[in-house]
Symmetry: D2
Subunit: 301 residues, 4 copies
């Protein structure tokens, strides 16, 4: 009598790094992706009986990414993620869902003599772009198949496409305060009407599956988030998060919902009084730890 | 008319690093924890209206960890996580759930002249121990409050306690193969009856809330996992995962379920033939990327 | 009779992170520095006898950085490094040399409605700027005081100022080859006339101590390096290194010498032939390891 | 007329990760090394003229490490580093010096039923072992060839062998103080007779080139350093550094000199008084930044 069971399982390949150069004339287009593939499905015998006949090796997943990057045309991480995820659903009847996450390094053309160079690039964005697809076989999906995407939610059947950005560093030196908060016996934080607000933005937004210009959406979304951050009079990280979400949904109609994770990268005023000096909100210690983290999802009504 | 809404939210403090020294006589006991706190509840006005009156500052969460580490007695990360999570549920009616994750650095006493030293320690385990508690207010819990714990599942009301380990490095040089797998047009991997199996084990197990000896359970679990890894004749990472789970549930009755994440840290045989040499399964390249990842959860029937 | 001796020593404080906001009107200027201080001198008794009377605590070094950031005016990491190093030489007769390294995070103003914002910033450079000063007491300097600066050379007495950049990511997709190299029995690398050249530039240059505009020099140097990288027809990483150095010395007369460290971040063509495809220099694997490293220093005759 | 010159140069391959399994009977011996090779010599034309005829590709260096790991017998990172460095000096007349650094992952056999397992391993040391060799051609060595080894010193001609350890984490909870230090206007640190002393030890020692048992020396050195750390009544990190050096030279006669780098991983007492509690040297914040760094070299008279 079996007394234990495999309650859940999935597997895949991480950190498949691929460079694609499209050489249509002297001006080259460069894609640099880090791809992650995860599959769920009827793999129980691999675990419980050592029967590998249903096991698609993760080495094959890697090869598939390489081959599809050559065989198929795409212009965005979202499109390439859709291509990869669909491949596994269409090729293997025992795969119930496929998730593909792509991190894209954002290269900008180097300006030379006032013109953008044709084939030389540098990074003008410290962050990364994200494309994420969960493709679930229609009609399928058992209880144990927990989704692993950024927002953790996937439809029963069909594709869910998400875009986003990771690690967009921003800071503002005024128009940010934090006051009137709840005070309990363990509260020592002072209220402030003027503090530094620094964060590294992670944002993930839900996108249509039907044909849209994912690159235009990304550029609009990134610019909107930066502008909303810059211009908001912030009463809390939470309020700025909501404001950025509101602005994004107002300006980019294709986006149905956006989730943010905002670490609060504290800048703490230094007490200079031991040295006979007063600190007029000028000198701060930048601390890496501990740090606050604010999560929130803003959706259309 | 409002056209957007806050669909989900939570916040907290990460990377609260605390050292506690218990000086009961000359033999000191040392705890080093990295604590993370997350709260969910009625915080919507903080986001949408900039009304901070319900906002428990993350700075207060940090202070609370410090104060409770002094005021309360505990002997394990699981116990301390329970104390912290319960504090927030009991202190604030508008908090619907609290999650506390603790990573513990595992210090071992330095041997001097054949005896374990009273107050000097080194690390004999490259990994970390984990204690995790999700405490949900009884009767509460709204749809948008997605849990964020390792296994992503929490009861409606009450506490869920988990233990685990992170980053336990292991390697075996034989008794591991991978053959008879599915072959498709993208498969180039060769079958092998004798390969190196290297991984960094992450494991999380479900524990009782009622009084048990969490430290004894951790030691038993860690030893059982290591022994199962060492002695298994592996046909795949998946099968070894399941075998470790079976062994753990057989040997540690308090554990109801265990989840593993096992990266496959590939060691690839070097082709020495260009140098007129043959490689008798002796020389390998250790690669960091790309890497396979195998997940699985083993539960009692 | 003493049988061992202290042959060398130095100490200091690392990772002193400081933010300074200069609020001259509505347009704020933001400096974010990570400072490292090292001192050498007559500290032997601290080590050998536990006599701390000559020991300037590293905590004091940290406080000194904070206080000087307030008390003194500066516009560049080079100037601030000079201020800090001179402070220790002037304040303590037993300090023989002081080295100060500053890493500056490069913040750019966020554009809003076509204008650069007054107080909100993001990062448009993934790299960091460096200012480094070694200040040695005139007439002093004993044998054991090995310098620790980037180029490892310091004058006997006086200040040596260096600027530089760290982690400037660049890539070019053509106009780069590697051929006609030495071939020995262990060579399997194929010659190529067209490969991808990707690197993360570290550069350190020697600067005058007398008043110059360190910020203008940095901007000129950075732009010159990027342009030289973009426009060079490269026969090797080494040759491009030398070409960037030549261009820098030609365009920026204040720089006497420049040292580069260039990791070769290989992009390796994927063999697609197992899948019936040919790879026309289009699809590459980006590998992190192993990687080549090329060092070189270019100086004026 | 040439106006610039190549003042210094060297190059090599980093992060060559290799696994060697010696299968002499059922008990396997496992070596896991990360190798770095650097060469100096007559490579100027590669830089200045794009003439690659003297350039040994870094890819060839990698292959050489693989081939020598098979062709040659060794039992320690020091021996393997000597083999690699000598190869380049003996094979290429234009190579003036070769430096090889090896980081070894320290695997321990997993105990199963009270016996150490034959082929399954885990890590019982969070640190790494180091072997380092600089081999300089006899009679050679020009001014610009700055050595790059841990201690930065190399003989003119012949081999210099060093061993060491990296990242050995230690902590002691008493018998450590810091008082009677220099006080200046920027000093706010309080004297303490009982503080926590935590550090991550890096140590590099000079070894004979003639045949010695490098593995026995490493084990003796590691144990001696741990014991000296545990038993010392510390008045400063500096004094403990010197004490560990003294002990090492006293116990391990083959070691001529040892250099330590000791970060001071501060544990700062938490002020619990705002919560009506007193902290009897029991609760500390573990901070990662800023941190002190103490360097020192202890040599025989």
């Amino acid at each position: 009598m079996r007394v234990v069971r495999l309650a859940d399982n999935s597997y895949g390949k991480s950190d498949v790094r691929i460079t694609k150069v499209v050489r249509s004339g002297p001006t080259h287009t460069l894609y640099e992706f880090e791809v992650q593939v995860r599959l769920g499905g009827d793999f129980e015998a691999v675990y419980t009986r050592g029967d590998n006949s249903s096991c698609i090796p993760t080495d094959t997943m890697k090869n598939t990414v390489y081959a599809l990057s050559h065989a198929r045309e795409f212009h965005s991480p979202e499109e390439f993620a859709r291509i990869i995820a669909s491949h596994f659903i269409e090729s293997f009847a025992h795969v119930r869902w496929a998730e593909v996450s792509i991190l894209q390094t954002l290269w900008s053309r180097i300006p030379v003599d006032g013109r953008l160079h044709e084939h030389a690039f540098t990074r003008e964005d410290s962050g990364l772009r994200v494309g994420h697809v969960r493709h679930e076989r229609s009609g399928g999906g058992a209880a144990g198949d927990a989704p692993r995407g950024p927002a953790g939610v996937a439809p029963r059947g069909g594709e869910a496409v998400r875009g986003g950005l990771r690690g967009l560093d921003v800071i503002k030196t005024t128009r940010s305060g934090f006051a009137d908060f709840l005070v309990d016996p363990y509260t020592t934080l002072k209220e402030t009407a003027d503090r530094i607000f620094a964060t590294r933005i992670d944002a993930t937004w839900e996108l249509p599956v039907t044909a849209v210009d994912y690159n235009r959406i990304f550029q609009d979304a990134r610019r909107t988030i930066l502008e909303a951050f810059a211009t908001h009079d912030s009463r809390s990280v939470q309020q700025t998060l909501y404001t950025m979400g509101e602005a994004l949904l107002a300006r980019v109609p294709e986006i149905a919902e956006v989730s943010f994770t905002l670490p609060n990268q504290h800048r703490i005023p230094v007490d200079l009084s031991p040295f006979g000096m007063s600190n007029a909100n000028e000198i701060f210690v930048a601390t890496r730890e501990p740090f606050g983290v604010i999560d929130g999802t803003v959706a259309r009504e």
